[in-house]
Amino acid sequence: MSASDVISSERLDALLRGDAPRSGAEERRAALLDGLRAAQLRAPEALRARVFAPAAAPASTPRASRLRLPSRRLALVVVPVAAALAVGAALVHGLVGSGGGSPRAVPAASPVQSHSLETLPARAAAPTSGAFKAVGVPSVANPSRLQHTAASLQVRVADTDALSAATKAATRVATSLGGYAQSVVYRTPQSGGGTADLELRIPAANVRTALTRLAALGTLVSQRVSVQDLQHAFAVESAQIAQLRRSIAALEQAIRNPSLPDAQRVLLQIRLAEQKRALAQRLHARKGTVAAGTTARVSLVLSTSKHAAAAPPHRGRIGRMVRSALGFLALEATVALYVLIVLGPFLLLGALAWGLNRVRRRREERRLLAA
């Protein structure tokens, strides 16, 4: 076959479409095509019957109830749905996590019942200053129960002179209300400004008054009050003490019996000593519980304007919700990334195996059809 006999693919397409041949080679090719098309080859009736038998039985839309989506379409559905679920879960988490109001009651683990109450600065922020005035102490404490109150305040003062005066005033407030300053750390670095950290002990009955007065020493930046119920612990300790006392009385009576053998007497005396030691420990513990219940711990941080800790930005419920939702989304992303890192090698191996299998099958196909 000479080079002039070669028919380009464009001309072959044209011949297939029925164009007239332009050369001898094309004439031969067109004749071949006509020869191929001349053959009568229709599906036999038996095949026709086989094909239309199943198609005629059910409705012309087979398996209408079974939804089968192609993988690409499935991905187009699954990916947005998964993303929507992730965002939805984050929003729900944000809504639940944002809570109804600013102060949050955080129940502590049983058996000690406690309440943590945090007053965010923004709740009472003065429109002009950006900080907030004293809002008073929420009356979460129950005077009929033994409760430990802990409070922390951050108060900003104008300068170091005011800082010194406020530190002295805070100490005076504590002593005037029957309490005392457990520790005072006063710092005025050369770079300017200064802070004073005071650990105050205030009788529980006067803690509201103390907090109000301490907050008035300057501009209240933040305030946190927590109340922990000690009534249960006190009741348990009292019951243990009563039990130990009864046990000691019984042991003493038994030891006084003259007919008691010496060996048994010694044993009872050892046991009596143990019970007395346990009683002393319980009494000491109850004393501590009572002290904690009757004395509040107040941590006061006084600072000049330069050193005042920046008040957290104002966040309303929506702000908290968004923050919570974003946090949850970040957590979801972290989990997804972790899963991807763990599953990544397996996915890669799977894809490699799939690719190799595909290549192998194509080679096999070529070999089968080339025979």
């Binding site: 693919s9 098309r37 080859l41 094909v51 194509r362």
Partner: protein
């Protein structure tokens, strides 16, 4: 120029709104699919079984058929090809098993590729490989365009054109040899 086997249905992908029923498609495409399988396998009995299997499979998958992505004929030919490849695979295994016992069995000499075909052309077609015969069937008999045929074969359009040219050239050569 259309042969007697040319099917007059349009090969352009129909609009999604005008989705035909399976019965209509089967009635229109049965002959074409059968011819394709006869050319691919070179065995009418096998082609009949494979065509029935193809339409059974197509019937099950009919909901997945998307008219926007290709004509029904192209879709059916792809299914037919998958079914036929499985058959080739099974045949290869069967032949390997039976090689020891039926080494000298001759092949059937009946006219496999259709009545009205000249003897030399029938013989030449038998000499082609299944891959060459199927491209001839798709492009010449079923009148699929280049892209559709390439899609069925799973190869590029250029490779499809090359394969067709080579197959036709071989046919011409073999017919010429017989005539000489």
């Amino acid at each position: 120029m259309k042969g007697v086997n040319a099917v007059s249905t349009s090969l352009d992908p129909p609009r999604a709104a005008a989705r035909p029923s399976f019965d209509e498609v089967a009635a229109e495409q049965l002959d074409a699919v059968y011819r394709y399988l006869v050319y691919l396998t070179g065995d009418r009995a096998a082609a009949e079984d494979l065509a029935a299997e193809t339409f059974e499979k197509a019937f099950r998958m009919w909901r997945r058929f998307d008219a926007r992505r290709g004509a029904p004929r192209t879709w059916l030919c792809r299914i037919a090809r998958t079914v036929a490849i499985d058959w080739f695979r099974a045949e290869a295994r069967r032949k390997r098993r039976e090689e020891t016992y039926a080494r000298d069995l001759g092949e059937s000499v009946e006219a496999a590729f259709g009545e009205g075909l000249s003897g030399p052309l029938e013989a030449a077609l038998r000499e082609l490989s299944p891959a060459e015969r199927e491209v001839v069937a798709l492009r010449v008999l079923l009148e699929l365009d280049g892209p559709s045929a390439a899609k069925v074969l799973g190869i590029s359009q250029t490779a499809c054109s090359t394969r067709l040219s080579r197959a036709l050239r071989r046919l011409e050569e073999m017919i010429g040899d017989v005539r000489e």
